[in-house]
């Protein structure tokens, strides 16, 4: 009996083991290499708007700090705030100016407000300069007739340095 207890104690000591981490380290190494490949050092990141099909492009120009304008199938958003509704690829007639059918009044008012705000800041802070930059994320399926109205209104509000957001194919 005593011998059996001694043997059990001896066996228990042997039962402690070292965790085999080699496979896990291998997996993490592969994961880190993959993440490093997708690592971005760009100062500005643009997250595509939900449900938006951005066109693909070969350009390599990185986005810079600018006002975000989204032209989706359901409306126009400025800094994630919906300002105009689009239904069946058209603007509501009350949103367009009677005299000028390319002028979108609600969009102009929001952009003009943003421009004035930026100009006021630049008066107080010399480092801040209003450059009229706008990054437009537009759905690739939209017709030019609709985008032309947005561009026209944007340029009238002082945002003439237009940058078209696309998905990189490189």
């Amino acid at each position: 009996m005593r011998r059996a207890v001694d043997r059990l104690k001896k066996d228990n000591k042997k039962a402690t083991f070292v965790l085999q981490l080699t496979a896990m380290v291998d997996m993490f190494t592969i994961l880190i290499v993959f993440l490093l490949k997708s690592f971005s050092t760009s100062a500005v990141h643009i997250t595509p708007h939900k449900g938006l099909n951005l066109p693909y492009s070969t350009t390599i120009t990185q986005p810079s700090e600018a006002i975000r304008l989204v032209v989706a199938n359901d409306g126009i958003y400025v800094e994630d705030q919906k300002v105009v509704t689009i239904s069946e690829g058209k603007f509501a007639s009350e949103d367009l100016e009677d005299q000028d059918q390319d002028f979108i009044r609600p969009l102009f008012e929001v952009l003009d407000k943003e421009a004035n705000k930026s100009k006021d800041i630049s008066k107080l802070n010399e480092d801040h300069v209003f450059e009229g930059k706008v990054v437009m994320q537009a759905d690739g399926r939209l017709p030019y007739s609709l985008l032309k109205k947005v561009m026209y209104t944007s340029s009238l509000a002082g945002y003439a340095d237009l940058k078209l957001a696309t998905i990189s194919v490189n």
């Binding site: 380290v25 993490f28 951005l54 940058k163 957001a165």
Partner: protein, 185 residues
Amino acid sequence: MSRTYTKKIDQEESSSFELDLAPMLALMVTLIPILLLSTVFVQVVVIDTPLPQVVQDAIEQEKNNKDRQVQLVLGMSSSSGFNLSVNIDGKQMESISVPLVEGQLDVNGLHEKLVKVKRTHPKVFRLDLNPSEDVGYSDIVKVMDSVRSFKKEEGTVTILDQKTNESAETNLMFPEVVFGNVVEG
């Protein structure tokens, strides 16, 4: 001799050890969340397209552009294809048409024509794009990509700087695409 050899093997066996991977694992567990935060799976890039300025800015720009004698205007329609006008001093000197191919815009055909135009006018980098209202936005982006630079096999173009009298080679064709018909209303 054989005894010494056996002893050596015994020493080697006893010197083998388990590598402690726990600190490495701890490092990786820290690194992975940091990298996940900075990882971009869909990279968004931009195409610069300065819009024609209105009123005072437009006038000033035109004044500054007096040196620009050659102007390229590209019309784009999903029903008739491309129509490129080469204007010199405001007069249309050449008109090049690129019709549709199987009902689709012939972007490759346009690129070939523009390569010839670029070789004739190497100093021109601006192209005025006038798409018709029915053209889709993704088609416009395809055209902008096509006119931006030469393909690798097409080589480069040499530009002579008149001030320094030095020549420089570039693979850029028309990187400055401006929507010419936006301000027309």
